[in-house]
Subunit: 188 residues, 2 copies
DNA sequence: AGCCTCATGTAAGTCGTTACATGATTGT
DNA sequence: ACAATCATGTAACGACTTACATGAGGCT
């Protein structure tokens, strides 16, 4: 149950409409908590009903009209409560690792292309993070920026790990293919 | 849509009943794709109906009786198809990072205890992985073991990253607390 | 009028989580 | 008989995904 708190955080950083929230979930916030516009609109409705946020009164509430939300005191209280509690991290859930394990059973046809594709994607993401770090965080001073930089450095560390691991995996798979000749898969 | 394929992989490695599958999803397979017994039973029903698996005929199909499943040729074909296709990895979804970002807005009360707690958990998981690597993978020879070892090394790499990052984050937060005096949070 | 974009929303279905129900086997 | 454990399920709900619907404003 983290989406409402992600939205509260985003709205405290800056009051926004549903669509501009959606765009922020495609960038900064979305780097560690993604959400579609359907999820966001539904959750905005719930948060408004719960008294955690409200629509800014300047906007008329008709369909197709922009509607901006801000966080109410009760919403800030709820976010504080949630942020200071305990919550275990979820176990890893990664389809690529699952597919590698499946490849060990049914053969690894197409595996190396897939590894290359993921490698390119993670390199791209890493470059994007590094560019943000260079642009937005020179010599971080205030606590807010230091915390946000820590979060960004988690993204950088994770992408760095994936790039290294994919390079290792690619070398290993290439070596396995060479050792087995032109045959390809090991399935059967 | 990866759970059916996780189950097909597990059943190809070794035909099993629902409960023994559940136990394997708490260990080896579960290290990168977790599932509860309710998910597994539901999915076994679907897979059987789709003609991908069948119950071993020796077992009588009454409630409370063990029922073992094996993969049919159609199931193997489906798993091969899935494993050789393209599939982008999902973006990161990590509640701890979200909570750090929230802490940047509402204050970081309790944050350092939470970081310490996660650090201990990741250290424990890392030790478990390393023990498995030392026990099950001496000098990996056949392709199956090499692929499985690669998967395990991904787990080791990820946990290593988290341990390092949490140590860095803990040092940073401690320093921030010291710089601000005994006050505590930066919220408001 | 027709089309595109911005913006908000509905509907249907799958996946995942939590709680509970039922039957079989084993030990006392 | 009773309890504990093994084993297979049902039910209900919430989270997430995908496709579609509706309305406003600007442009040609």
């Amino acid at each position: 149950m983290s989406l409402p708190h992600a939205i509260l955080t985003a709205l405290l950083e800056k009051p926004s409409s549903g669509l501009s929230l959606t765009r922020r979930f495609d960038r900064s916030i979305g780097y560690f908590w993604s959400a579609t516009h359907q999820q966001i609109y539904r959750e905005l409705g719930k948060l408004e009903q719960a008294g955690f946020i409200r629509a800014l009164p300047s906007d008329q509430p008709s369909r197709g009209q922009k509607k901006e939300f801000e966080v109410l005191p009760a919403g800030r209280t709820e976010l504080t409560r949630w942020a200071s509690g305990e919550q275990d991290s979820k176990p890893i859930r990664d389809a690529l690792l699952l597919r590698m394990r499946a490849s060990a059973v049914v053969g690894r046809a197409g595996l190396d292309e897939e590894l290359r594709r993921h490698l390119a994607q993670h390199r791209g993401q890493l470059a994007e993070y590094q560019e943000i770090e260079g642009r937005d965080f020179g010599a971080a001073a205030d606590p807010q920026d230091r915390l946000r930089r820590l979060v960004l450095r988690a993204g950088i560390g994770l992408e760095t790990f994936w790039v290294q691991w994919l390079e290792e995996a690619l070398a290993e798979v290439t070596d396995m293919d060479a050792a087995e000749g032109a045959g390809g898969g090991s399935g059967g």
